[in-house]
């Protein structure tokens, strides 16, 4: 039977951040997740923004965590070797009604201790953002709203935690939590029983179901769907900042911003659902994005769309981000209500939960040999020509470009499979390296990545999944026993 000190349920951005933080201490940490890869649910589909919390409910734990986390990212991203860009956000007002809302928004930011929000004139806004609707009257500038690669953040937290001796158990579903004398004892999973002294529920969308396993079902998770568009890097109408609409009573509205890789991200919708697995986009939702964002950026080219996706915010009912502990379930920490600001809050939540566990009695001996920095996979397309040449000389696989849209080489794909947290599916490769995330959506590289994955994992191509088990890519050989020409040809 497996034993651990701290067991984290859920390998999303929050679970992985907590694992990385705890890997600084001399405790055994195990993260369990039902998916085949880390970051498989809410962490994979969001707006990839590091927020300031300027619009959070003042005085809330969410406000506190986001406020604390924002300044951590510059160093964190450098340590974890992931991209990060300080682009800032603008919030333009186009109508008199919107203009009159600006002081209240600024005041709310102040209450959230975000003191650097500034007014901008129409002229200043148009200078910063020439594609903005020229009807703009004035607006706000929120300088510390940043962008990040959310997939890499999760992978990097996880890999760094792994390097510091945390463990991950993927493809494993939790079926129950056992307690003993009012304290947690372990969990039951599809892979057997695991004993644990401390259990952290970071199950995101499913955190209510996990909470019910310890009899704490005093809330539900009501997913709130957000649909997005991704536009081609070559689209002619771009923005330089995160362009936020003035929020209404109902919604924060739909934004347009650059992604860290130079695409344009547009959305999201906000639709309350009951189904936690409804990741479908729909014509009405996509139309509402086109309509709303065209008011901010009239020349936006939806014809340059390369992808649409939907993410689910793990919205809590009753609302609010909470970290709960219970006197009658000792050793148990319950996280809930982590929504749009979850990516941002993760860095602070890691520390918050670690401190909560220490207060509960978890031994807090710092590992003097903690490895703070993670080295990511070489990103071929970001190297200078000289460096590219050197890399190919060391490993010729870097001289074979597999994904032409994003210039991803076979060397990078092979490395992703050989990492301590290996990429085992098409989407795992895509999230780590962007192969298939470009304008041809994998039309070119997909068949090639499939064969490289099968070769590197030493399995047949039928065993390769898009993501989770059951999402098989192909059904078998056309003619059995024939040599595959493509194998040498990828």
């Amino acid at each position: 039977m497996q034993k651990t000190d701290v067991l984290i349920i859920g390998a999303g951005v929050v679970g992985c951040a907590i694992a990385r933080e705890l890997s600084k201490y001399r405790v055994r940490v195990l993260v369990v997740d039902k998916n085949e890869d880390v970051g498989g649910e809410a962490s994979k589909a969001n707006s990839a923004i590091i927020h300031t919390g300027f619009d959070a409910p003042p005085g809330s734990l969410e406000s506190e965590l986001v406020n604390a986390a924002n300044p951590m990212y510059e160093k964190l991203c450098a340590d974890l070797d992931i991209p990060f860009a300080k682009i800032g956000a603008i919030m333009p007002a186009f109508t008199n009604e919107q203009f009159e809302q600006l002081p209240a928004i600024k005041e709310k930011a102040f209450k959230n201790k975000v003191y650097d929000v500034e007014y901008l004139t129409a002229e200043q806004l148009l200078e910063r953002e020439p594609n903005l609707n020229p009807c703009v009257k004035a607006g706000l500038f929120i300088p510390r709203e940043y962008i990040i690669d959310p997939f890499l953040l999760v992978v990097a937290y996880a890999e760094n935690a792994l390097e510091n001796s945390a463990s991950f158990l993927l493809n494993t579903k939790i079926t129950g939590i056992s307690t003993n004398n009012g304290a947690v004892a372990g969990i039951e999973t599809t892979a057997g029983r695991i004993e644990a002294r401390y259990i952290v529920n970071a199950a995101g969308l499913y955190c209510d179901e996990v909470a019910a396993m310890v009899g704490k079902a005093d809330y539900t998770v009501n997913p709130r769907k957000g649909q997005f568009y991704i536009l081609d890097k070559n689209t002619s109408c771009k923005v330089n900042h995160i362009v936020l609409p003035i929020p209404t009573k109902l919604t924060k509205g739909k934004l347009m911003c650059p992604t860290i890789h130079g695409n344009m991200l547009v959305g999201p919708t906000a639709e309350d659902l009951l189904d936690k697995e409804d990741y479908a986009t729909d014509a009405a939702g996509l139309a509402s994005i086109r309509e709303d964002v065209s008011k901010l950026i009239p020349d936006i080219k939806f014809g340059d769309a390369i992808m649409q996706y939907a993410g689910l915010r793990a919205n809590r009912n009753p609302e609010g981000l909470r970290v709960d502990t219970y006197d009658d379930v000792k050793g148990y920490v319950n996280l809930s209500g982590i929504r749009s600001t979850g990516i941002t809050a993760s860095a602070a939540l890691g520390k918050y939960v670690a401190q909560t566990l220490i207060q509960m009695g978890m031994p807090a001996e710092f590992k003097a040999d903690f490895i703070e920095k993670r080295k990511g996979i070489i990103r071929f397309h970001e190297l200078s020509r000289k460096q590219q040449d050197d890399v190919i000389r060391k490993n010729p696989l870097f001289g074979k470009v597999i994904c032409r849209c994003e210039t991803v080489t076979e060397g990078e794909i092979a490395e992703a499979v050989r990492r301590p947290l290996p990429a085992r599916s098409m989407d795992a490769v895509k999230r780590r390296l962007r192969a298939g995330m470009g304008r041809c959506s994998g039309g070119f590289c997909g068949p090639r990545v499939l064969e490289i994955l099968a070769r590197e994992l030493n399995v047949s191509v039928e065993e390769i999944n898009k993501n989770q088990s059951g999402s098989y890519m192909v059904t078998g050989e056309v003619r059995a026993g024939k040599v595959r020409q493509g194998a040498q040809n990828a």
């Binding site: 568009y229 991704i230 890097k233 070559n234 130079g262 990741y279 479908a280 986009t281 729909d282 014509a283 996509l286 769309a305 390369i306 992808m307 649409q308 996706y309 200078s384 020509r385 000289k386 460096q387 590219q388 040449d389 190919i392 010729p396 001289g399 074979k400 470009v401 032409r404 849209c405 098409m426 304008r439 041809c440 959506s441 994998g442 039309g443 070119f444 997909g446 068949p447 064969e451 999944n465 898009k466 993501n467 989770q468 088990s469 059951g470 999402s471 098989y472 890519m473 192909v474 059904t475 078998g476 050989e477 056309v478 003619r479 024939k482 020409q485 493509g486 194998a487 040498q488 040809n489």
Partner: protein, 497 residues
């Protein structure tokens, strides 16, 4: 960095690149080099194992690999050189350099200065000299990523050999190719689900038709068992037959337009002969399935191509193939600063297939999407010869330029311009219609004067048409012999009973 010098460099060894290279070599240039990312020549033809190629070019019916094989043989016989397994990352043409430099330093520079600056740019202060990426609007490069590379330097080659290709190869590493002229022959890519904004979940089992064709014909892998095909483009119909022959069940081909978008012969040979239903004026409205595709909702569409909700019906399938159009692959062209036509998505070219950068030529599907490889070959021979003539300094001098304008029921005309020269030649202007007409008259008007008129039994957006005009008929009146008064040719298609 590995250095290669040549007269004509061709990017892509598909039907366009092969024909261009053979034709260039035959003009008497010393070195023609094809750079190809695959390990073997032929491009997409390697996976087009069906017949139907060569009917006009060779007057016989060949398969894709056979058709490509003839050009490969011709290329080898002519002494064309190949660089396989090599991906081109960047192209820059001479005019791109000059404008980049002028814009950057705020002053005029002689060509020689631009040239020598180009060779040493990577080691020189960045603000003063052009970098390889700055002429174009290509991908945003992280600051500093192209700095600190001192190996990229050397003497400026003689003549006009200032076009540069940077490419990557497993065995030589990074390579820089200096060419007197470049032929862009990168072909096209397939439109995707994202381009269409097709709603629904994102399961496995949604493929572009070409990707599925590669899986089956080159990798011996079946993509699925029960297949729905969206789009009546040629690749989709050919895949309907191919999948059926390999034991898959193709339940229907769904087409949003009220007419077939591919060739009629493919409908007959690939759908009708196999009893595969074609649903015109229908579209996929939703993709379903959390892991693997479980099916698609299909609805009839109205005259505005909007789905009619009450006609929506579920089609159970594990695979959806998309054959919904092709997009010329011009990221390299954009990076070089080549001007593109918004309608075709390819470079604006003249009758020599010369782009807005004089030393860069383009041909085949990178310029405009063709329906027949035979047309690509013919067009590419023009590009190849012209590129060779340019390298030799023999390309006819232009004293003006005419714009080719799409008139009634014409979507685009290619070439988009005609350079006025003293050369007496037949110029083929290819075009596509917007709407199918049964019975039509095609006419070409030059500055208000009809220079050509011909009858067509039927015209169809899926089948490219052309008019051949005599350059002699384009001599402008004496008073307008200047670039300021270029004139225009309007190609129109009128309905005729």
């Amino acid at each position: 960095m590995h250095e290669i010098f040549c007269d004509v460099a061709v990017i892509g060894a598909g039907p366009a690149g092969l024909a261009a290279a053979v034709s260039a070599k035959k003009q008497g240039v010393a070195k023609v080099l094809i750079i190809e990312r695959d390990i073997s020549p032929g491009g997409i033809l390697q996976q087009c194992i069906h017949p139907g190629f060569g009917l006009t070019y060779y007057n016989e019916e060949l398969t894709g690999p056979e058709y490509a094989g003839r050009f490969v043989k011709a290329a080898e016989d002519a002494g064309v050189e190949f660089l396989f397994d090599t991906m081109v990352l960047e192209v820059s043409g001479r005019f791109g350099w000059e404008s980049g430099l002028a814009k950057n330093s705020g002053q005029e520079s002689s060509q020689a200065d631009a040239c020598s600056a180009a060779w040493t740019s990577r080691s020189a202060p960045p603000a003063q000299t052009p970098r390889l990426t700055q002429a174009g609007s290509g991908d945003r490069r992280k600051p500093g990523s192209s700095e600190g590379d001192s190996s990229f330097s050397g003497a400026c080659p003689a003549g006009n050999a200032v076009n540069i290709i940077i490419c990557v190869n497993k065995s030589v590493g990074m390579a820089v190719v200096y060419a007197k002229s470049i032929v862009l022959a990168m072909g096209c890519r397939e439109r995707t689900r994202g381009n269409l904004a097709l709603p629904g979940t994102r399961p496995a089992g949604v493929y572009t038709a070409g990707a599925a064709q590669r899986l089956i014909n080159r990798q011996n892998i079946m993509p699925g068992k029960r297949v729905l095909i969206l789009g009546s483009g040629d690749i989709g119909m050919i895949m309907a037959r191919r999948l059926t022959l390999e034991g898959a069940e193709v339940i229907a081909v769904v087409e949003i337009m009220n007419y077939l978008t591919g060739l009629t012969r493919n409908r007959v040979q690939c759908l009708d002969d196999f009893g595969i239903p074609l649903l015109l004026s229908h579209s996929v409205t939703r993709i379903e399935g959390a892991k693997r595709l479980t099916g698609c909702m299909v609805a009839q569409v109205d005259e505005n191509r909007k789905p009619i909700p009450e006609t929506e019906k579920f089609y159970e399938c594990d695979t959806l193939l998309l054959s919904v159009g092709l997009i010329p692959e011009n990221e390299l062209s954009l990076g070089a600063g080549v001007k593109l036509c918004p309608v075709t998505g390819g470079p604006i070219v003249n009758q020599f297939m010369q782009t807005s950068i004089p030393g860069i030529f383009a041909c085949g599907n990178v310029v405009h999407v063709n329906d027949l490889a035979d047309n690509v070959s013919a067009e590419s021979e023009i590009a190849g010869s012209a590129a060779a003539h340019y390298a030799l300094g023999l390309l006819p001098q232009a004293f003006g330029s005419i714009v080719c304008v799409p008139g009634n029921n014409v979507r685009y005309v290619c070439p988009q311009t005609v350079a006025l020269t003293n050369e007496d030649a037949k110029i083929k202007l290819y075009f596509r219609v917007q709407q199918p007409y049964a019975g039509a008259r095609i006419s070409a008007n030059y500055n208000g004067r009809e220079i050509l008129s011909k009858k067509a039994i039927k015209v169809n957006p899926g089948e490219m048409e052309y008019v051949a005009i005599n350059s002699a008929s384009l001599q402008p009146p004496l008073h307008s012999l200047s670039a300021e008064m270029p004139g225009e040719i309007i190609i129109s298609v009128e309905k005729e009973a």
